[in-house]
Every structure is written in structure tokens, then in C-alpha cells.
């Protein structure tokens, strides 16, 4: 455009060059969501046409679920059945309220977190027959976090609901703030990245939350499938004493109103 030396110097100072990267997981995650309604195919209407569409969509869902199992969930149903997070081992699941049975049709990927210089970490979840929930983090290499390798934190598993736990005692003692979450860490410093804490779990509020914010780090996450969330929090000095509190979570509804605070018990 010009031989302007100042502009050339500005161009030379470009601090970030676009780098090609494999992002199929992110692509799949995005297109699995609803697309632009304006681009939906024209429908002729009528009951027959609608049933045809239902059949096609149902087939697509079956294909999608099958593809998901083939591509990612692998033996996740068996992992959830043994419930490592609840202290179980293959063939010997935990007992009591920690005996949670994941409903196979609800096992799905509910989010993908992109970690610079590390890759995409997938959050998988399931509902249980006992009204609890399950979760697992799938690392870029295909491993499940907490099962092996250098990641620290919670293993995959299933957890009882707040109500199920509190029914056992006279006083509510479990998830009294409505936030139920666990933590896993990944370390990307060797690749020039950062140390990250992945905070993931569910919300159990009377009203549905749209997003949560950690006021300590300033990080936020959207709620998926009604109650699941995965929050990425960088920690530039993981060897130092953790701040108190490590996290302070606020939940907002769709209108932007705070509906829960991890420092305050639910009413």
C-alpha cells in the first residue's frame, strides 16, 4: 500500500502470527449445536413430512451418539460404572450413595476447553438413575484425566445428588451453596504455556443459571446442558500458597442477576 517506514515497522512488530492447528474437536463441538434457523431447509409441512423429519433426526441422533462413542467416550460407561472418583475399582463399584448408575443415553460431551499450547480438553457428563451426575475430562491425547499421566486431580466418576446426600442426615451438609465441583490440573509450562486448574462440576439451584464467574481469577464459564460447567483458571505460581479462598463462584441467570454465591448457603 505504501512505502511508509513507520507502517513497515508496525508490521514487523506484529506480536502474534496465526499458526495452523488441528481443531476438529472444537469444530465438531460447534456444529453439534443448533445452527442458524434462517438456513434450515424449506419444509413442505404436513404430518407425513414431519414424521419423516422426526425419523431423519432420530437417525442422525443415533448416528451422532454412535459416532461419539466410537470417537471419544470409549469405555466411559464402564469407567462410570466402576466409579473411580467414588473409590471404586473395575468390577467393584462403591456402595451406599456412591453406587451411581450412569444412564448410557445421557453420556455425552458437554463442552470443550481450549488450553493454549496444550490442546482441547473435553468435558463429558452423564445423569445417573439415582438422580446424581457423572463427569470426566478427556485430555488431548485421549486419556481420561486422573486415570494416568501427569495430570492431577479428580478421576472420572459419578456423584450423588445434593438431595440424596442430605436425606441421610438431619442437617444439610453437602453442596449447601448449590455448587458441586472438582478440580484437575494440567501443566503446559514445558511447552511454553501455563499451569491451569480446571474446575468442573454442576450447579443445583432452584433457578437455572446461565453462567458462572470466579471473582478471584475473573474467569467465567457458560452453563451447558442445564447445569454443567467447566472453568479454566490459570495459576502462574502453583508452588506458592493458594489464595484464600482459591475460588469464589457467582452464578448468574440469563438476565444477569446473581442467583447463587459459593460463600453463602442456599436458602
Amino acid at each position: 500500500m505504501t512505502n511508509d517506514l513507520a507502517l513497515e515497522r508496525l508490521r514487523a512488530a506484529n506480536p502474534a502470527i496465526a499458526e495452523a492447528a488441528e481443531n476438529e474437536a472444537l469444530f465438531d463441538s460447534i456444529v453439534s449445536g443448533p445452527g442458524d434457523a434462517r438456513l434450515r431447509g424449506k419444509q413442505r409441512g404436513g404430518r407425513t413430512r414431519r414424521w419423516q423429519l422426526v425419523a431423519v433426526v432420530a437417525s442422525a441422533l443415533v448416528v451422532g451418539v454412535a459416532a461419539a462413542w466410537a470417537a471419544g467416550s470409549g469405555d466411559l460407561q464402564q469407567i462410570f460404572a466402576s466409579n473411580p472418583a467414588g473409590g471404586g475399582t473395575p468390577g467393584h463399584p462403591p456402595t451406599g450413595i456412591w453406587r451411581q448408575v450412569a444412564i448410557p443415553s445421557t453420556i455425552e460431551r458437554v463442552g470443550v476447553m481450549s488450553i493454549p499450547r496444550y490442546g482441547h480438553v473435553e468435558l463429558w457428563s452423564a445423569e445417573t438413575e439415582q438422580h446424581g451426575w457423572c463427569s470426566a475430562l478427556r485430555l488431548p491425547n485421549g486419556d481420561w484425566a486422573g486415570m494416568k499421566g501427569p495430570t492431577g486431580g479428580a478421576a472420572p466418576g459419578c456423584y450423588p445428588s445434593r438431595a440424596q446426600t442430605n436425606e441421610a442426615g438431619a442437617e444439610p451438609v453437602y453442596v449447601i451453596t448449590g455448587f458441586d465441583y472438582y478440580e484437575t490440573t494440567v501443566d503446559a509450562r514445558a511447552a511454553g504455556g501455563r499451569f491451569w486448574r480446571i474446575v468442573y462440576g454442576v450447579t443445583e439451584f432452584a433457578k437455572p443459571a446461565a453462567r458462572i464467574v470466579d471473582t478471584v481469577s475473573g474467569r467465567e464459564a457458560t452453563i451447558t446442558r442445564g447445569r454443567f460447567f467447566g472453568l479454566l483458571v490459570p495459576d502462574d505460581d502453583p508452588g506458592a500458597a493458594s489464595p484464600k479462598p482459591l475460588y469464589h463462584l457467582l452464578a448468574y441467570d440469563a438476565s444477569g442477576k446473581v442467583i447463587a454465591d459459593s460463600d453463602k448457603p442456599l436458602p
Binding site: A6, L7, D36, R38
Partner: protein, 175 residues
């Protein structure tokens, strides 16, 4: 066209948009986002939900405009959390980059956010004036005026911060 074929055609169309993900990540990083990957992922999610709005010839202006809004929202959230005033687009000097030429950073910081963005869309995002104008939602004529002003101010600010160098008027200008 049946439903599955139509779906596939939409995914093919979106894949052409998604191919610009690295550029959007780089854009967010240059604008000082604390999480450029997340900004780019969100911009792509919006592009999928609003695919009819995304230009098919060159989606970059639309993607950059979306990413810009997301970076601004990110800054506002951070400012609210800190109980401070909402921030505008940060100067690149505030970004998480360690390779920016200090005099260049100082000269950029001396510009207004609008002038700075006009300059960077051309210098760093490599957009033509007409594409940069589309990204900013202004006419090509208005963009040329803004870009010319931004370049003049940047040149002057850079000369003040680098007195030994010469950044006089260019011999040829064709914006």
C-alpha cells in the same frame, strides 16, 4: 435437498469460516485478550449460529468484528470485577505479548482506540481498506480518512519516541 445433505452443506460452508480460526486467535491475542483461544472459539460458535450473516467471500471482517466485541466484553467484565471503570480496547502494550517493539507500543498507545484499530486492521490483520471498513461497519471512504489520520498520528508519535529514526511523509501513498 434432504435434511442430512442440507446439514452437510451447512457444515461445509461453516468449515470455510472455521478455517480462519488461527487468524481469529491471533487477532484476539494482538488485542490483549486474556484468553484468545476462548474468544476465537466463542466467535466461531456465534458464526455457526448466525451463519446467514457471515460473508461467504471473505469472513474475516465479520469474524474480527465479532472477536472485537467479545474482547471488549471480556475487558468490561474484568473491569467490573475489579470495581473499576469499563475499559476500551487495550493498547497492544497491555497485551500478553513480550515481543512488541517498545517505541511502537508507545506510539500505538498514543492513538485513540478507533485510530489504533483502523491502523492495526491493515498492518497486522492484513485487510484491504474495503474489508477493514466492513469490519468496522463504516464506509470505505470514511475508513480511508480514519486510516490516513491514524497513520499520520502514528508516524508522528513514533518519531517522538524514536528521534534517531526518520519516519517522514512517504513518497507514495495509495490507500
Amino acid at each position: 435437498m434432504n435434511t442430512l445433505t442440507h446439514r452437510q452443506s451447512l457444515e461445509d460452508r461453516f468449515r470455510a469460516v472455521f478455517a480462519h480460526l488461527p487468524s481469529v486467535i491471533a487477532y484476539a491475542r494482538r488485542r490483549g485478550s486474556g484468553d484468545p483461544d476462548a474468544i476465537a472459539a466463542e466467535a466461531m460458535s456465534i458464526a455457526w449460529r448466525r451463519l446467514a450473516d457471515v460473508p461467504t467471500d471473505d469472513p474475516r471482517p465479520w469474524l474480527y468484528a465479532t472477536a472485537r466485541n467479545l474482547v471488549l466484553a471480556e475487558r468490561r467484565r474484568a473491569a467490573r470485577l475489579a470495581h473499576g471503570e469499563p475499559a476500551d480496547i487495550p493498547a497492544p502494550a497491555e497485551a500478553e505479548v513480550d515481543s512488541l517493539d517498545p517505541p511502537v507500543a508507545a506510539a500505538l498507545a498514543a492513538l485513540s482506540p478507533a485510530d489504533r484499530e483502523a491502523l492495526l486492521l491493515v498492518a497486522w490483520e492484513d485487510l484491504t481498506p474495503s474489508l477493514a471498513a466492513a469490519s468496522l461497519g463504516i464506509t470505505a471512504g470514511a475508513f480511508r480518512v480514519r486510516f490516513h489520520r491514524a497513520r499520520r498520528r502514528f508516524r508522528r508519535a513514533l518519531a517522538e519516541s524514536s528521534p534517531a529514526a526518520e519516519y517522514g511523509e512517504p513518497r507514495m501513498e495509495r490507500a
